[in-house]
Amino acid sequence: MKRRDFLKNMPVAILPAVVGGMSMKAYGSNALLDALTAGLIETDRVLVIVQMSGGNDGLNTIIPIDQYSAYSAVRSTVALPENKLLKLKGTNGKTGIHPAMQRFWEMAEEDRLSIVQSVGYPNFNFSHFRATDIWMSASDSNKVVTTGWAGRYMNYEYPNYPAGFPNTTMPDPIAIRIGGSGALGLQSLGANMGLSINGTQDLLDMSDYIFNDPLLGDTPGKELAYIREVQRQTDKFGDVIQAAGNKGKNLSTLYPSVANAPGKNLADSLKIVAKLISGGLKTRIYWVNTGGFDTHSNQVNVGDRTTGTHADLLKGVSDAVYAFLDDCKLLKIDERVIGFTFSEFGRRIKSNGSGGTDHGSAAPMFIFGKKVKGGVLGDNPTIDPAATANANLPMQYDFRSVYASILKDWFCVPQPDLDNILFKNFQSLPLIDSSVCIPTDTHDANVKAGDNMIMAYPNPFTEATQVKYETNGGPTLIQVFNNEGILVKVLVDNENHDAGQFDVRCDLGFLPAGVYYVRLQNGQLQQVKPIMKVQ
């Protein structure tokens, strides 16, 4: 039994004695006490993902001051003046941040911002879409994976979703995307784990819905059942969102509020996030977007290069996130919230002929929140003063290391499960105060939430395992996918069943060891469970 399971299964009365043997201090301020007194809901952690679409110019975001002459030589049309750069704490003046990111600089001073230098992956792709897919799926650049890294994490946490959701263990959406529809990042095999909203109004009011004719068992009836299930979930979650929106608040006065102010749209999205968290949603992941980073031309004002398109974009992110953290603090939820920014790629080392920069490779990432360690991770990139137009920064850190560190240190995912979610073992980075992984994990309850329609025993297994499944009757399909979402086997091919429990043998002796997913589909219900084949 894992330690956290052991703790979780203890009667509450004896918990203090058990934890007494560990250093209370190691758990940080009062998080543990909160956990013990206020119940699990209050300690559920939240991750906010800020997607900066278009490819942010990393070299004009975090600037290697120690190589200023090379930097200004290769970026003749866009280089920022040295005396305007804000020097980052702990770098001996060697690393600067764009002056438009004054607020991020302040957050770095207060250890509420971690910066990871030159994040990327081997064999860069320069297509916006493809590169975005790579960041979302956490695949190798030459592999197409149809599920998202966060979606796989959520499937690990709530493997029964969407069958029987919402329920008392998870009454809320597991993930929410503000603006835009289902991101690949939140996609699990066969189901998007994210609910897309534009505000806290009810998404779908089905209260006066009259189209309830009985379903026929034929093909159109099957599809109609599917649509009705989508409607039901949208309706239920819509009610939850509206209730949380009414209950929640925004207290910060720092959000950019003037129309067209940099960061206004991002701030509006983050306001919804703060409101929903303070309104009591147990939602784990929020996904927000801000666009316009594809700065091929005129990214700076010629008269004052610290201003212009790119400066406004950076100021927008910095101001909006700062206000959001201020809000979290005032709402007393700052212990529970971290976030990070990402962009599908950075830009070339050399500026181009039109006062901008073209699609490039590695770029810095920001991780923000009270619980981050702070500081700049990694060295300044080396800039060759003779860099050619096509020259790109080499990566220092794989972006999946950032994901791995967050899943491990924030969501407390144990290493073997983590390796399954990200397909392999990635280096862990010191980004988050790792003592936050207190034993209040609700994983076991989450795993049981919803209708458990399919399971495998033994699991892990070497050659074959027995799959037990439940069907409501009618055509039932059971498939096995590999971790790239490719179908490797059909165990039950839409055979007609009576309602009840059944068994089928799943022999994967011919396949390599690794994680596979068994997927059951019965009418509008579907469920995916990971199984593991070992040597």
Partner: protein
């Protein structure tokens, strides 16, 4: 040719019985089903146009496309917008007598690389504002769907643009994307084998799958792989090409380059880049050897042999027919359908030398196509949904090319809607096309989830309840008539397309029949009448069939009537329509 005969021996399918033709009644339900699957949305006028015709007559008419090359997309973007007139003291935006902001300083429209505002950019080679050209291209294409003739051209163009999927964003040259689209239009009802040959040296495809970087010293396998895996043979059990076949095909395809600077020669074959060694294929292809050809035409000669070799394998015909079946009928291909539908159609495809039309004709006149379980079994794609709204309600869209600003604004907005719903036209997620067209087990179900469902409701609600789409006040001074054009449902005209709108019973019956993939009960229809159509409005309420009949008669005689009850009709209709579109049944067709 001896090698090829071996392949035929091993993989040749024995002759099969032809597909069973449909011999039942060809009534309104069958006609509606056929039109729903072959057009984007079906209107009363569409149904009327084919009324009384036989199945063969209708199918022939749908397959009889004469105009494959509509006029090209234009520059709708080289313009900066006017500004609102403001009170010099208070800074407030001034309004005209209609309460609309007054616009001043209409700029004279600009140019893009010498292409004037309103002229086509397809012959002007530049990528300077390519994102604008791509948006113009997408708008144009949506416009062609909205204004489609009553034939299958637009559906087949979509089918093959999804089959030979390319992302305009990656190609990054709208001129090339337009050329690919033209090629698709030309071949979408033509010969599939010739189509594959032409697509293999299409400039957009050469860019998209790196064919233009495939040369003898550094072969790039991207296109060679997809040519087999996605475009011809597929990944089914009957497809057994090897990794070495991919490598050999890549060598055959070396030497083709693209030229973005001169659109008269967008593709240039360079024999110096071509691998002139012999290419040996596996036993799946009968150990065929394609001899290296160093002549000026070597690349094309070898490409022809490669495609001919691939088309010797029967699996090509089955793979394409399965895809057509999934696109037009349903996605569940069980062993019975494989045997009774796929195999006979595949044989027909082969016997017709891979002409597409005979296969479509056989499919659309087959017993399988008209099975009741296949009617209303398909979840609408975003394009079916959005374009279908405009067509179903017979919304008048300005046809005069002089009003292109208003047209393109509408089309760009519609393209934005389908993108929001998950179908960004000409920018599918990857080379496999949209997963909803191929990804088991969900297929079309993937179009709808908790994220996209409410978006559909928002879009259809905006379409039916607001004052429609307005071209806006901020329009250049090229043609001020493009300003403030409202593009919306005209309820008086639309009501007239029904056989008996003065009867609420008949009207709701006919609307349900027009809208829904599956029937709804009389109980629900009665509720629609009482709760929605006849709900109280400003203390006026229709409560009897006679009152409805009188009100509609008066309204249709004069839409600007002063009769208070008659004046409630358009709003009552709007509320009914909005509500009826909320049914789950609305998303099936």
């Amino acid at each position: 040719m001896a090698e090829v005969n071996v392949a035929r021996k091993t993989y040749f399918t024995p002759p099969v019985a032809p597909i069973k033709p449909y011999t039942g009644q060809f009534g309104r339900q069958q006609l509606k089903h056929l039109l729903r699957r072959t057009l984007f949305g079906v209107s009363n006028s569409d149904l009327k146009a084919f009324e009384g015709k036989t199945m063969t007559q209708v199918v022939d008419s749908l397959l009889n496309v004469t105009n494959f090359t509509p006029s090209p997309p234009v520059n709708d973007y080289s313009v900066t917008l006017g500004t609102y007139k403001k009170d010099p003291v208070t800074g407030k935006i001034l309004l005209d007598t209609n309460g609309k902001p007054i616009v001043e300083n209409y700029p004279v429209a600009g140019e893009d690389n010498g292409v004037k505002f309103g002229e086509t950019w397809v012959n002007s080679a530049t990528t300077l504002v390519d994102f604008q050209r791509r948006a113009s291209f997408k708008a144009w294409w949506i416009g062609l769907m909205m204004n489609q003739e009553r034939n299958i051209r637009e559906k087949m163009t979509l089918f093959f643009s999804n089959h030979f999927a390319m992302e305009a964003d990656v190609v990054s040259m709208a001129n090339f994307t337009y050329i690919s689209n033209q090629l698709t239009r030309k071949f979408c009802l033509g010969n599939f084998k010739d189509f594959v040959k032409a697509m293999s040296v299409d400039p957009g495809m050469l860019v998209y799958l790196n064919g233009n970087r495939n040369n003898k010293s550094a072969p790039d396998e991207n296109y060679a792989r997809e040519l087999q895996e996605l475009f011809t043979l597929g990944k089914g059990s009957g497809s057994q090409y090897t990794e070495d076949d991919v490598k050999a095909a890549a060598r055959v395809l070396t030497g083709w380059t693209t030229n973005r600077a001169d659109l008269t020669t967008p593709v240039v074959y360079r024999s110096a880049f071509h691998d002139t060694g012999d290419k040996k294929f596996s036993s799946f292809f009968g150990n065929k050897v394609i001899k290296g050809d160093s002549s000026a035409n070597g690349g094309m000669n070898e490409l022809n042999q490669l495609v001919d070799m691939i088309f010797q394998i029967d699996e090509v015909s089955k793979f394409i027919v399965r895809k057509l079946y999934t696109f037009f009928v349903y996605y569940d291909i069980n062993t019975d359908i494989e045997k009774n539908v796929i195999e006979p159609l595949a044989e027909l495809f082969r016997n017709s030398s891979y002409e597409i039309k005979p296969v479509l004709k056989a499919l659309f006149t087959s017993d399988e196509f008209y099975k009741p379980t296949n009617m209303g079994s398909m979840i609408k794609s975003p394009l079916d949904h959005v374009v279908g709204l405009y067509r179903q309600f017979e919304v008048a869209i300005p046809k005069d090319p002089a009003l292109f600003e208003a047209q393109y604004r509408l089309w760009r907005s519609a393209a934005g809607s389908t993108r929001t719903l998950g179908q960004d036209i000409q920018d599918p997620p990857n080379v496999a096309g949209w997963p909803a067209y191929y990804q088991m087990p969900g297929y079309y179900e993937m179009w709808l989830d908790t994220a996209s469902y409410p978006q559909r409701e928002t879009i259809q609600k905006g379409f039916s309840t607001l004052n429609g789409f307005s071209s806006g006040t901020e329009i250049s001074n090229v043609n001020p008539d493009s300003r403030n054009i409202a593009i919306k449902i005209d309820y008086s005209n639309w009501l007239k397309t029904f056989s008996n709108p003065t009867s609420a019973f008949d009207l709701i019956n006919d609307m349900a029949d027009l809208f829904y993939g599956v029937p709804i009960s009389q109980t629900v229809k009665d509720k629609l009448k009482i709760n929605k159509l006849w709900a109280k409005q400003n203390n006026l309420q229709i409560t009897t069939d006679k009152q409805w009949s009188d009100a509609v008669t008066a309204y249709l005689a004069n839409p600007l009537t002063t009769d208070a009850m008659a004046r409630t009709v358009p709003l009552r209709m709007q509320i009914l329509v909005t509500y009826m579109m909320r049914a789950a049944e609305f998303h099936l067709h």
